[in-house]
Subunit: 305 residues, 2 copies
């Protein structure tokens, strides 16, 4: 069933120990949409400038992503550039040109408002909130955020996530949001803020799913080489919500089990791992659903005892 993805579509410049790309398609909404498109029909809401390339639009369209909500305005597309450390666990932002993204106000086409699934990429919490409030008949809604909003827009963020079913953040953000350094305590505090499902992403170490009464931990996939971690967290999010949307799960109605959510976490991990195998979105040019399901089975094999 339809999934609405809202967030940034951007151009990225990335340098890792494996090479350098000056300009390639990126942005949270791009990665989330591409990853989710393997599981469910996706509709995107984002803004790009008049420099947005036809071939990049084509990649999204080739994944059957509905582009009616991809707004084109005069000016340049959001540009970000970063440099990764040797072990790729740290990155330095070299440049952030918001360009047309500075004035992004998500506009939902009428045909989008009935989508039963919603994921909000990391944008200003008040914008996330406005999107959530324009939707009718949501079965499952949630999103991502970052240190900047947690620190300087705390009240706005708390008001926003109160209406969410799930929150996907990394471990440092979970500690910052909760004020607790222990992850179990951090998770308990965050589950009191609204979302009944919390996924804490731990980069190469995997992810943890927390609900009030249980948790599930998956280790990260051991890649032989990580080319570029850019977008891996967003691809995780896309795999997670994409799988749930594709299955038509309804969290509120109680039609979702710990097992369903755990499998969604595995699909998220699978999509994050594929993302790192090539620069930017390159891997999604060839990736097939059969490869995804094979890696899902690999996860089962290397975690079973």
């Amino acid at each position: 069933m339809s999934l609405l993805v809202v967030g940034s579509v951007a151009y990225d410049g990335v340098e890792t120990p494996h090479g350098k790309v000056d300009r390639m398609l990126g942005g949270a909404a791009t990665y989330i949409s591409l990853a989710a498109s393997y599981f469910t029909p996706v509709k995107i809401v984002a803004v790009v400038g008049d420099d947005f390339a036809k071939e990049d639009e084509k990649l999204l369209a080739d994944h059957s992503i509905d582009l009616e909500g991809l707004e084109r305005v005069p000016g340049k597309t959001f540009f970000w550039a970063g440099l990764y450390s040797d072990d790729m666990n740290d990155r330095t932002t070299l440049r952030t040109d918001l360009n047309v993204f500075a004035d992004f106000k998500p506009k939902l086409p009428e045909s989008y408002r009935q989508a039963p699934y919603l994921i909000l990429g990391n944008i200003q919490p008040s914008l996330q909130k406005s999107v959530r409030e324009q939707m009718n008949g949501l079965r499952l809604a949630g999103g991502d955020t970052m240190n900047y909003w947690i620190k300087d827009y705390r009240d706005e963020l708390l008001e926003t996530i109160r209406q969410w079913d799930f929150l996907l953040i990394n471990d440092a953000e979970a500690r910052m949001l909760s004020g607790e350094s222990n992850l179990r305590k951090a998770a308990a505090a965050i589950l009191d803020m609204g979302p009944h499902t919390l996924v804490i992403k731990r980069g190469e170490y995997g992810a943890i799913l927390f609900r009030q009464d249980s948790f599930f931990i998956v280790p990260g996939y051991l890649l032989e080489s990580v080319f570029d971690p850019t977008g891996a967290g967003d691809c995780f999010a896309g795999g997670f919500i994409g799988y749930l949307a594709g299955q038509g799960f309804d969290l509120e109605a109680g039609h979702i089990s710990r097992g369903d959510l755990s499998r969604a976490v595995i699909y998220g991990s699978v999509m994050g791992s594929f993302c790192c195998e090539r620069f930017g979105v390159e891997r999604f040019r060839t990736l097939t659903r059969a490869e995804i399901d094979a890696r899902f089975e690999e996860f089962r094999k290397f975690t079973s005892f």
Copy 2:
């Protein structure tokens, strides 16, 4: 079946964010032996000074650990003191007084030489080698090492581990030993050095078991609070080899499966997690096999999907 544990028995001074203990029982052989004692009969080879307390000897004896090989010599027992960082992922050594441990030459009582299982704690590689060569009829032998030996005693270490079935080290040590930053590549390189089984410990993030044809990953147990991580890696080692010895597995004879080894890794993780719940060896005063098996089942629950 009998397990021989060789290594240090020490007194530790430890400060963590949860408190400070000036002097308590510690040392790799102590932690390995206590953890393994829940699974199999243990014999220890170590040296202590004349300050070694009766009550500390009693704790070991209460766990049915054979103390014939615990040598007592005039002087003071090895003393180490350390201070943990706020998140307990780093520690600073404040003091290392080798004392009687400086001249430690492992002496094996005649009754120890037929023990079928051997684990060598982190001591000088040539001493580890001399012990290995005094044993008859070993079914499974291996041990631990550290950055110091990898860096400054590389040839001696390589000669030593060539005779081992398993090597247990942490991720930083695996990278240093192999010269590879990627863990899969590091593991492949190390498995070419002799051991057919490699366990890479990742602290709070769990552990990975590597063999030539497969690997198994387990995430770390999420403790509500970590009081003191001292000895957790050694308790992991004790649980790992203790379980295999208790079951009578014979790696060389091919009587051991990936499943057996995976369960040994889980028991290792269980013992490491209990160790962190109290200062030093305190948790082992009350810990029961039933609690261990319950936590093993918890691991199954939070990793299954």
